[in-house]
Amino acid sequence: MALPALRPSEHKQVALQSALQVLNSGEALDRPDTPDEVVTAVRRLPAIEAAYAPFPADIDPRLRAAFESRGITQLYTHQAEAFEHVLGGRHVVITTPTASGKTLCYNLPVLDRILKKPSARALYLFPAKALAQDQMAELHELTRSISDVGGDAIGVHTYDGDTPQDARRTIRTRAHIVLSNPDMVHSGILPHHPRWAKLFENLDFVVIDELHAYRGVFGSHLTNVLRRLQRICRHYGSHPQFICSSATIANPAELAERLAEEPFSLVQKSGAPSGEKFFVFVNPPVVNRELGIRRSYIAESRRVAGEFLRRNLQVIVFAQSRLSTEILTTYLKEDFEDVPGMPERIRGYRGGYLPLRRREIEKGLRAGQVRGVISTNALELGIDIGALDVCVMAGYPGTIASTWQRAGRAGRRTGQSAAVMVASSSPIDQFVARHPSYFFDASPEHALVNPDNLHILVDHVKCAAFELPFTTEESYGQVNVQEVLGVLQESGLVHRSGGEDAAGQWHWTSESYPANAVSLRSVSSDNFVVADHTSGARVIAETDFTSALSMLHPKAIYMVEGKIYQVEELDFVGRKAHVREVDCDYYTTAITYTKVTILDRFAEDAPKVALHGEVHVVSRVVGFKKIRFQTNENVGSGELDLPEQQMHTTAYWLEIPLSIINALPYATDDRRDGVIGLAFAMKQVAQLLLMCDARDIGLSVNAGESDGDDTPRIFLYDAYPGGIGFSAPLWGMQAELLSKTSVLVASCDCDNGCPMCVGPIGETGPLAKTVALRILEHLLTGTQAIVREEEVPF
């Protein structure tokens, strides 16, 4: 919104076109998809004209004058629409593309209210501190313009872990707009609400930016933080209105409603203009068909980025991990050596860099001195880096939503831009690269949360009881909170006062400060710290309890910021892993034995093939494999003797009827391989459908060898104690899950299975792919799934 877009010069367009031509081997840019070629798709997304609306009539004249003094004389339609909703007292969620002037959607009504009612307060929540800093800079400019045209001074302050102690008191009473993050609200603001009385008494707005970031564990925690916030607001007599903004996801209103537990109006038609964009899918060529090995996608990304950089276009490259970020940065710095004395043209960017360095890179990008930046998802959120010419994604970002979000980092409001996705050899990447329509035509994913996960909920009930006694009539979330409080009383954490019959209260009766023990980024506060003993001892990382054994077992390779460490000792009782820096060419993956027992079946009446419910998962890390970097070959293994981990969670599972299994014309072992291969492929697709990370769901196969019940079962369980809300939706999407799995396996190039479909050959048997397809065939005809709509190549 701030600056009028620059009209890109003619030669920039020529450069872009020519680079695209080279990538596309000289073919026309408008062409049908070609799943088997290196460039599987080139799509041209036409430019979109701006749709404007006048400033609403009831807007404060000083605010309008301030905007006009900055050259803004009208709004985009979505900004005006959002304003009307807020004025009408409705909670609103805005979901429009990157760089469409989303922040104005909330700044406009908030500033308007503060000008009309100076006692009004607003709390802005950002998922990361840097975003709050960016937003503060933008708001400061706006408030300066407002005072220039004679408006009152409006206090805007960030409040986070970095806020100096002596500034805090002033912020608590004076700031009209407090920019913070959920973690700070959870541990620093809510537990001290009496000191924030002025804010809570007058809290008119809660703004939640980057709403889509709050899914899974983080989102489940956020709902609870907002429940606590709303309790405190009721205590002080305020009823804040929520204004949320989100990247494009399938269910923005539903997510907002799950998080704030209020009804929302949705604004999703953007009035912002955008320039023409080319979207290209690149699948590195196959180098070994037998083993299904393709050329390294890192090398391919280097080549692609090089084509654009060479033509002096500004490029952002998104890598999948910190390690690949560093590797690509090194490669591209080699290709585009800096001129001594001149600013660096190629920079890396990721979490772990010091804030000062990051600000410097962001500035360099805006000013155009930095020509290429290689980043983890750290730059995916709305940090201001200006608009670049080209976005190269080294690997599919994992979700449709985040792919669009990243692609949005390139492209101005006018002129041309390009986004290139280079597929890795993971099954998901292959699926997307070979089925461009899945990406271009499908709706993005659903963001899922489970705020009533008992582990998470109990932690927040403790925090809430500390903040304000619960009454014996009070409810909280979807569970019976009185029952929860009763159990907390058994442990002496709360005490019920006021007698049996009268309305009483539950008081916190522990000297601890419960928020300190709860991290919003994990389910349970129990965690392991990683201590590096290379020179002295220092803590370099921490990891949650659930993943500790598989990541930090003895001899495991653990990586932080591109450095490689080996675990020397795992102190299970002391929750500590002792590591030392090593120089080696492999990493490790744990071999985990998992057994799932069904505790409770939901949706029993539905067809019996797929079910979901509560399960008990016992897992044990029994060994590990050493995998060489680059080639991914297995170069060794080891056995481990570690304690068992148990977890109560939710799961989706597939029960393959024995009638199908027994009818398969294959040997018992081959049938087992088929089930295992099918499970491997299903997990990949489930990840795709659920918009989650690989570690968010666990896989366990009972391939029919267990006692008594021979029915093979494939369990896809929530990898968090108590479940995080994936199972029921996955069950709901089960037809899609099976048909997409079928497409993934059937369309894979390999002969007998590979890491891109049913798993690497050698780990699954020679017939795994064939058998898996046969089982799917039976299942799909049996459940008359909607496979017909899908085009199945071959």
Binding site: R195, A197, L454, H455, E490, G499, E511
Partner: protein, 456 residues
């Protein structure tokens, strides 16, 4: 698994609190006659708050009375300590008379202290016992201990919250007391007690009566006067516990507590009372609080004696030095200088306190410099520079000051150069600055010798 069992499982595995919790079998005096204990059976079997009957019994057991209001009640325990009573070896009467005449000394110790006469009589000593140490909305003061001077006695009045729902009443009582007193005296109240009380009033959305009340937090003057020094170079700097009220009362008043309740046990004793209605574990907490209040008065009295009688009343180098710091902060530089001289005298006599000796010389030099007596300041620096076993940082500071003094005031470039060279040899951290001085001195000396000017 039933939800209730799962909940129990989850709650049981919550991260253990860092704070130790009082064991269930806290030994009680007496036969423990039948008392209702709460069955832990969740909501249904429900825990009842101590009924009126129970809290009346509790009040009697603690030697107090239950004061009922329309919307709650408070247990008030009143104790009078007469002039002849002893606190450790200090007679209460002596503490009272010292405080009553201690206006000037208090003014010296506190910022923004009212100058009116008779402030000692309107002083409110305040000490809280709380449900936790972390602050925040869930930390409450379950016991507000107040003390004030009445005639020749000290009256201690404690307000104990008989249950969480009675907090407003406790606060109202405190409000009444605060309004009838003119100033506040605490130990660490600036960072703990007063902010906590403020938060409680804010929680109930009532203006805090302690806002703007003059406040003398004895922690800071006490640290200046009595904090333990490291015995020898290399021993770690003592933490604040060396200046805790418990340490001071032993040292200054000779008080040795018997059967005192450890601080970490206090919250859980209160929680136990709330759960069971059994007030007996709280008796030790009440006594602990009363002794704290008396010790606070004793510490104040001792500080007043020192300040009023001046350096001659100091018994150790440390005390004399702390006294000097108090005078200096209060702007009484003459007294500060006298106290420093007394400190040095002690240090020389005992000969075993080079740290205090060195710091006293340093302060002395600064005070004299501030008073525009540079030559006397230089004398102090000189003594410091040659003080045996003196901390290196102090010695370097002295040498640098001497180098400056000789270069700019005395124009004795050769001595200035000697000091600068000594400084370099002493392993000074900021070599650049010293080297710069040395270079300039050399240039000046060269110029003097070229001009064949006499070298002072």
């Amino acid at each position: 698994m039933a939800t209730l069992d799962r909940l129990r499982e989850i709650v049981k595995h919550h991260r253990p609190s860092a704070v130790p919790v009082v064991a269930d079998d806290v030994r009680l005096e007496g036969d423990g006659f039948s008392r209702r204990h709460i069955e832990s059976a969740g909501v249904a079997g429900g825990a009842e708050a101590p009924a009126l009957q129970t809290i009346t019994t509790a009040a009697l057991e603690l030697g107090g009375a239950l004061v009922e209001h329309s919307d709650g009640a408070v247990i008030v325990v009143d104790r009078e300590y007469r002039a002849g009573d002893l606190h450790g070896r200090m007679p209460i009467g002596e503490i009272v008379s010292t405080i009553a005449d201690g206006e000037d000394a208090m003014q010296l110790m506190a910022k923004a202290w009212p100058s009116s006469k008779g402030i000692g009589g309107r002083l409110l000593f305040l000490d809280l016992e709380t449900t936790g140490l972390f602050g925040g909305a869930g930390t409450q003061a379950f016991l507000v201990g107040c003390a004030s001077i009445e005639g020749t006695s000290i009256r201690v009045r404690q307000f104990l919250m008989p249950g969480f729902e009675h907090e407003r009443i406790v606060l109202a009582e405190l409000q009444a007391w605060a309004n009838s007193h003119g100033a506040l005296c605490t130990y660490n109240g600036r960072t703990f007690d007063v902010p906590l009380i403020e938060t409680r009033f804010m929680f109930h959305r009532v203006p805090c009566p302690l806002d703007g009340v003059p406040h003398l937090d004895m922690l800071h003057p006490a640290r200046r006067m009595w904090r333990q020094r490291p015995l020898a170079a290399g021993t770690p700097d003592p933490d604040d516990s060396s200046c805790s009220l418990a340490v001071l009362e032993k040292q200054l008043a000779g008080l040795h507590r018997v059967g005192d309740v450890p601080g970490y046990e206090i919250p859980s004793r209160f929680f136990k009372f709330v759960r069971t209605g059994d007030a007996r574990p709280l008796e030790a907490v009440m006594e602990h609080n009363r002794l704290d209040l008396l010790s606070l008065a004793a510490v104040l009295a001792r500080a007043i004696v020192l300040i009023t009688r001046g350096p001659s009343a100091a018994m150790t180098a440390q005390e004399a030095y702390g006294l000097a710091r108090v005078y200096e902060r209060g702007g009484a530089y003459e007294n500060a200088e006298a106290s420093l001289l007394r400190t040095i005298e002690f240090a020389k006599r005992v000969g075993a306190e080079p740290e205090v000796h060195g710091e006293a010389l340093r302060r002395l030099a600064w005070i004299r410099r501030r008073d525009r007596r540079p030559h006397e300041a230089a004398q102090a620096w000189n003594e410091l520079a040659i003080l045996p076993r003196c901390a290196a940082a102090l010695r370097r500071e002295a040498r640098e000051a001497l180098a400056i003094h000789h270069e700019h005031r005395l124009k004795d470039l050769i001595t200035a150069r000697e000091h600068a060279l000594d400084l370099l040899a002493d392993g000074v951290s900021n070599r650049g600055r010293v080297q710069h001085r040395l270079d300039r001195l050399e240039r000046k000396l060269a110029r003097y010798s070229e001009a064949r000017l006499p070298l002072n």
